[in-house]
Amino acid sequence: MKKETEAKVVTFTSEAEMPMMPASVASTLYNKTGSWRYMRPLYANQTPPCNAACPAGEDIVMYLQLTAQGRYAEAWQTIVRENPFPGVCGRVCPHPCESECNREHLGGAIAIHCQERFLADYAAAHELDLPAVDAPPREERVAVVGAGPAGLSCAYHLRRMGYQVTVFEAKEQPGGMMRLIPEYRLPRKVLEREIGAIVALGVEMKTGVRLGVDLSWEDLQDYAAVFLAVGQSISRELGVPGEDAAGVLHGIEFLAQVKRGQKVGLGQKVAVIGGGNTAMDAARTARRLGAEVTILYRRSRAEMPAIDEEVNETLDEGVKIEFLCAPVAVLTENGRVRGLRLTRMELGAPDASGRRRPVPVAGSEYELEFDTVIPALGQVADLSFLRAEVQTERGRIITDERTATACPPVFAGGDAVTAFGTVTAAVGSGKRAALAIDCFLRGIERPFPDLAHNVQAAPRRRDPTVVRFENLNTAYFEEEPRPQERQLPAAERVTSFAEVNQGYGEEVALNEARRCFSCGTCNECDNCLIFCPDVAVLRGDSDDEPFVFNYDYCKGCGICVSECPRHAIVFEEEVKFTKT
């Protein structure tokens, strides 16, 4: 109000002149009520637990949002920005994302692996190509040693950044351990498509070249950086008498032979020793070849490192598991396996892995008849080729969080470094290496999280705080059940190598994506816009910023914060004045 009006004395000469009620003579927009505020809402984009848990650093919430809108191609592209193997990971990843999913409390975790698989299968069916390399070409050449998931992931991300990449693989075909995953879990064509897509981006693939044999360190001098992703290729020995008898087949060799279509000398009564995924794969493969199979594991079910669902499927297929036993000798007859001498085990104090250590029970030895023994006790890395400068510890290469070894410009990742033992972790490791090599070559410093946390190639702006169930406004959500993935019946499964898990179709995928809470991530539900009493929530003009606050008028009441179902908005104290 102007000074002169303020000073004027208001008089009325009749009732008609009197105001009926106070009404301003003009808009009150001049009154910036935002100055009353001491708390401020912010679209923080906090981190959903699935995203935080994904070893490959996928933006799961974002691709679920896109799926919910039927934007399948974009959803798939969102995955492959981080991980070029959604078809593989959708099938074989132990999905730690689902273990963290907040939906668990209201009907079951989102079936994220099925969603990933659905999108990969959609991309395959529609022959979608990986986005073309649009970064300007870079002079530097980078060598990747090992064409497993870590090496291929690194090559893929470096290629996308414009580098010239050559992958050297000792085996005749790229894929590493992914090649050994049985057909009934991972059909060959799925793997071939995803590897082929990486090669098609312009990655040079040299197979049948083993570092230290066919390739020397001097040959690598031409490369600006080297990424070692050699994995763990040597099977652990049983370490008992009779191990070299005919009829003892190591798990990964057995799986490789079957995958290659070679004839395998498998008997009728097969023992598989070990409790990891290789043991399950070997047992189920042997079962499909017509054998009667028993898994022998030295601890109990709770300590089994294999994915729980895999163990269940193995049991469903008629494989027996004998817990708390360990072989002490392979019994032979004429140089052939005839059985195992075993000892009973009991669980003692926890070991370094946190699991209880199995201890033999004295005098409990017994014998069982087998004609084939498949040890699947895990693998160790073959590091015989290494230069001395690259430091190792207990069979693993030592790196820092940038995957750099003690010998720059040599980087290393995957199971040879961390032995996390999953495709997804290896993919994440390769990506981390690619980002680190890029920084190294360009002389850029950037922080990397420790190896237990993931990294993103195309990060979205977000707050690293992880949203938990108690942060959500559950008044907006109902209990809705998790859908069942289609699966071949167990009796039918053991008759062939047909894929066991069948995923689900579009309708289920669409509903499942809609069931996602979208923790911490705005999905434009409009609640803030509707509830704001001051019309201080406005639509933004980009996908990154669907809404913006008009802080000129936001009084900081916090209604938007509490009414946001997914905790995409946080409330923070706003310091406007500081004492001078």
């Binding site: 009732e15 009620m21 003009a26």
Partner: protein
């Protein structure tokens, strides 16, 4: 068209025929069937209104205030505790001069928890600046609802249409439901003086200094005074259109009466029967039904009751520490009369306790037996 409907449905039909454009309400016994019916009218497309579900009566009135300020004809209904929760914005609606119409089913106030009739809920809103009509029959409920819009929109004050819980709200009677075209001819669309308009943005209801506030209250009172004239005029028009009139008050067999009962709501119907019976017995008695409580028709009441020897007011309410509310108002109205008959006050039927012909006979007998009241008011039917 005649239909057998409850008092509540009569309210709903009134709002429908008045073409209310926004209905915001929260359910509460015994009002619920009013808004259920309106909700189904809206859902079935029989009413072109926006039905807003809200989480409380305060919000219901707040939504009506917003709608009315934007120029819409707004309607709500509530009862008892709901009206009390609404109280702050009940004042606001009047102060903002918004002609909202609200059906209120009289319900006794808790605790003790009660769903039965008593006038305490509406009478405690006496000073909010709302017009208040107390109805005797379902037909009157329907007619008054429509009339209320016309009167309210003429003086820019909101209006309550009040009916007794269950005795009227849930009791069916044949009701003449007028044709929409006839109602349209009687009630033109609402034309606000001031309204929210994005093209001409203004803020309503802001701070007013002592230099102007009093004038706004003066103007509200003037509007109330005008409402007495307008209500009379609107009722006359109603009569012309539909052949029925209700009056601001209704005298019954009062012409040569020595004793006048003063009643409101459904007690009136029962009292008419008793008056007729007593007349048969030779008692010179009549009654005055007070239909319009705010603005209070002082002058008509003064003139109507001036000739009687005794006045007996039946109050289904109590102002704690004083007496029944209607009696206070009647006494105040008579104070300026030259010949002031003694006013007996009877508080009866609280919490929905039945007021039957015998109750009214007890009141009359007491009045006949005393020359003047010996106490401020007399309890009827208390189990002492």
């Amino acid at each position: 068209m005649k239909k057998v409907v409850t008092g509540n449905y009569a309210v709903s039909w009134g709002a429908r025929l008045a073409r209310a454009q926004v209905i915001a309400a929260y359910p509460i016994t015994p009002q619920t069937s009013i808004i259920e019916k309106l909700a189904s009218f809206c859902a079935d497309g029989e009413m072109d209104a926006r039905f807003i579900k809200v989480e409380s009566e305060h919000s219901a009135m707040a939504a009506c205030i917003g709608a009315s300020a934007a120029g819409a004809r707004a309607f709500t209904a509530t009862s008892g505790q709901g009206l009390l929760l609404m109280h702050e914005v009940v004042h606001w609606a009047a102060g903002a001069r918004l002609p909202i119409v609200m059906g209120v089913v009289n319900r006794a106030i808790a605790p003790g928890w009660s769903i039965w009739t008593e006038q305490g809920d509406t009478l405690s809103q006496r000073d909010t600046g709302w017009l208040q009509f107390y109805c005797e029959t379902n037909q009157e409920v329907l007619d008054t609802t429509i009339q209320a819009f016309k009167i309210a929109e003429s003086v820019f004050l909101p209006a309550m249409v009040v009916l007794d819980a269950f005795v009227l709200s849930h009791t069916s009677e044949p009701v003449d439901i007028p044709d929409q075209a006839d109602v349209d001819a009687f009630l033109p669309p609402y034309r606000p003086q001031l309204k929210l308009d994005p093209a001409d943005p203004r803020a309503f209801g802001a701070l007013v200094l002592p230099s102007e506030y009093m004038e706004m209250r003066y103007k509200m009172q003037k509007a109330m005074e005008r409402a007495l004239v307008v209500a009379e005029e609107v009722d006359r028009e109603w009569g012309e259109h539909f052949g029925r009139r209700w009056g601001l008050v209704e005298p019954y067999r009062l012409d040569d009466a020595e004793i006048a009962l003063v009643t409101s709501g459904t007690v009136t119907g029962t009292s008419r029967e008793v008056v007729d019976a007593l007349r048969e017995e030779g008692v010179k008695i009549g009654l005055l039904k007070v239909r319009l409580f705010r603005p209070f028709p002082h002058q008509i009441i003064r003139e109507t009751l001036a000739g009687v020897r005794k006045v007996a007011v039946i109050d289904r309410n109590i102002s704690f520490g004083d007496s029944g509310v209607f009696a206070q108002e009647v006494r105040a109205a008579l104070y300026r009369a030259d010949a002031r008959p003694p006013v007996f006050d009877f508080v009866a039927g609280l919490g929905g306790r039945d007021i039957v012909p015998e109750t009214i006979r007890e009141i009359v007998d007491y009045t006949l037996a005393h020359d003047a009241p010996t106490e401020e008011f007399t309890w009827i039917g208390v189990k002492t």
